[in-house]
Subunit: 191 residues, 2 copies
């Protein structure tokens, strides 16, 4: 940010009175331009019939990580809910028809100022097709997941937690749990 | 937003190619200024010893809803995690010392472009004091909660869900659950 979006005056970087961190401040009109983390919301679209358990993934047609596989997800928009965002992003990126269930994972990515949420979902049919931001869409069983070609750590974390939870429930019953994780950039770790 | 924060040119409101909703776009430098929901994160600080179950609330010293009671919470900042935000806001607004537990509620407020998250927390002592944004801080048992003077519906929802969960667990065991809700402005309801 270089200029005030209210009055076009150049902004300064300073800590406003009563605040405790630097902000973009307009010394002409007094506006304080706060910057806050963004929500990235998506789903884990599951097809499960008897022993056939597969998850839908999309191969990204856009940067970052073009060509890599991801769960359908994207930036939450103003005026929608997190569930609506998950449903919309799934439809836009994969054309899939889903029933959305409960929140499955919340993953913080503080170095890029993002929080990622993934909801479990049931695929209603296999009539999916790649949207504009996907090169292809495909179904994967656990042993076929292209682990080395997953686009983002939040997606890998969520997929691994999903299959672990699913196996536990198959073995001993119970419910899916909410999974929380913080993913920090390797360069920024305290050690 | 009236001016481009990158080049100070007046922005236009239009739907960029490949997008499906209007954005603030700079026709001079090409920047697209996305606007996304903000996270408000806080805690439910609990003091429980024997039959004594109380929750810490703060009376707001700032608008909106000055003079009304709230759980400690505020806007999540860049470069922090949701847990760090909950801990920081609790300390800033109430001076309380807490251990933070799992996420308890996620409440969408789409008409103000916000998502509110509340974590359960244990108060480590009763050495709290009002921060700059609070008029006073006090402990309330369930029957003393000032329900008609609660600042925000997300706080009322979270408090009611907390006491309901706590009573269920006291009665029949089990765990705290994640509670999800959407709070829509009365004027914007489909009915």
């Amino acid at each position: 940010m270089k200029f005030c979006s209210d009055c076009a005056h150049p902004v300064s970087r300073l800590t406003p009175p009563g605040d405790n961190r630097p902000r973009y401040v307009c010394e002409n009109c007094g506006a304080i331009h706060y910057q806050n983390p963004k929500l990235v919301v998506g789903s884990i679209p599951v097809w499960e019939h008897g022993d056939d358990l597969r998850v839908l993934l999309c191969r990204r047609a856009i940067e970052p990580r073009r060509g890599f596989w991801t769960l359908p997800a994207g930036f939450m928009e103003n005026s929608e809910t997190t569930s609506e965002a998950a449903q919309r992003e799934t439809e836009e990126e994969s054309g899939a028809h889903i029933d959305l269930h409960t929140l499955f994972s919340i993953v913080n990515v503080p170095h890029v100022h993002q929080v990622h949420l993934f909801y479990r979902a049931t695929l209603l049919d296999l009539e999916y097709e790649a949207g504009e931001e996907s090169l292809e869409v495909a179904m994967f069983s656990e042993q076929d997941i292209p682990w080395s070609d997953i686009a983002f750590p939040t997606v890998e974390y969520t997929l691994r937690a999903f299959f672990t939870d699913h196996a536990r429930i198959a073995r001993e019953g119970g419910e899916f749990l909410l999974h929380s994780e913080d993913i920090r950039h390797p360069m920024m770790r305290p050690d």
